[in-house]
Symmetry: C2
Subunit: 196 residues, 2 copies
């Protein structure tokens, strides 16, 4: 296996160890020492891949973003009926299973951690841009209702998604998967009309 | 002044010092020692009012909730046109000024702090109940559209409110007061019809 792949895989394994530590102990447990232990590496070996804690955390955060994007792109290729496609894409962000729940928990910890550090750059989670792209493509396909204000609807859907995501984490028994799906389906129907 | 009032006022002053410390240093700075210093009290004096940090934090959290409720109730008494009333009430939760912004920041820190401690009780922020009461009263006044699903709309509005609130804190330059008002006004129009 070429060395660069091995290097990348090792970095990904360290990012996964980071998520695990955050899920178990919150952000305050995410020290370089704890992460190295979880990844089964010496502190020196970990430092070979990431020289600072911040560098490691930003990498781990970007990897969450990348994985969500990959899953969303796969859905785009599935050739689903348009409403079903939109719904499935949004369900990659609002957590309804173990993977997406863990991602959102880790994400929230990241956002607040970097916010307290005054690092506003890293807060861009790409959701707004994703929703923008989604509404643009619905618009091109003439599925968006004529009378809607696209900018306003982008912002509104983005707020709804993040609000649902947080409630799904804080109140998983109230906000079941079925409930999340009905809310999203209803919201999609409000801004779109699908011929089938 | 009767002693009980003095006692209550002192507790409120300590809660305000707590908010201040959280705004300046985040939750990790909210030690009993730091709070006592900010309130200008000795550690012993503070312990007279709150015997544990948790007791103090829960009191400070409840006081945020109480103040928001008081402001919402005042709006209900103002005799405003119904849409304007609903809008003003929602704007007591989604931050568009210094007071509500600080409250939401502190609130978010509280929620995540108690969540990490496994204390799920304290997460009930009363927003869902508030929105429920609001939609019930709009329903009684026949302002709700006939075809809507009240439970689903309660959950949806609640998610929208919290999503907007978090975005307003994280991206205050993007999510201006005007933008928040147009989104909320549009959403209200979707679930209500007002005769004037």
């Amino acid at each position: 296996m070429p060395k660069i792949v091995d290097h990348d895989n090792r970095k990904k394994a360290i990012a996964e160890a980071t998520w695990q530590v955050i899920l178990e102990q919150g952000m305050k447990g995410a020290t370089v020492r704890n992460i190295a232990r979880k990844a089964g590496l010496s502190l020196g070996a970990l430092r070979h891949y990431f020289s600072t804690q911040e560098e490691l955390l930003i990498y781990a955060m970007d990897l969450v973003k990348e994985r969500v994007s990959e899953r969303v792109e796969k859905i785009a290729l599935k050739n689903l009926p348009p409403k079903e496609m939109v719904l499935q894409m949004l369900l990659e962000i609002v957590p309804t299973n173990e993977t997406t729940r863990a991602e959102m928990e880790v994400w929230l910890e990241f956002v607040l951690f970097f916010r307290n550090k005054g690092n506003r750059e890293s807060q861009n989670d790409g959701i707004l841009e994703g929703i923008q792209k989604l509404l643009d493509s619905l618009d091109r396909a003439q599925f968006l209702k004529k009378e809607i204000d696209k900018d306003l609807e982008t912002e509104r859907l983005c707020a709804l998604i993040d609000g649902l995501a947080i409630h799904a984490i804080l109140n998983p028994t109230r906000l079941t998967k079925e409930r999340i799906i009905s809310i999203l389906a209803h919201h999609i129907d409000e801004i779109c009309h699908f011929p089938f």
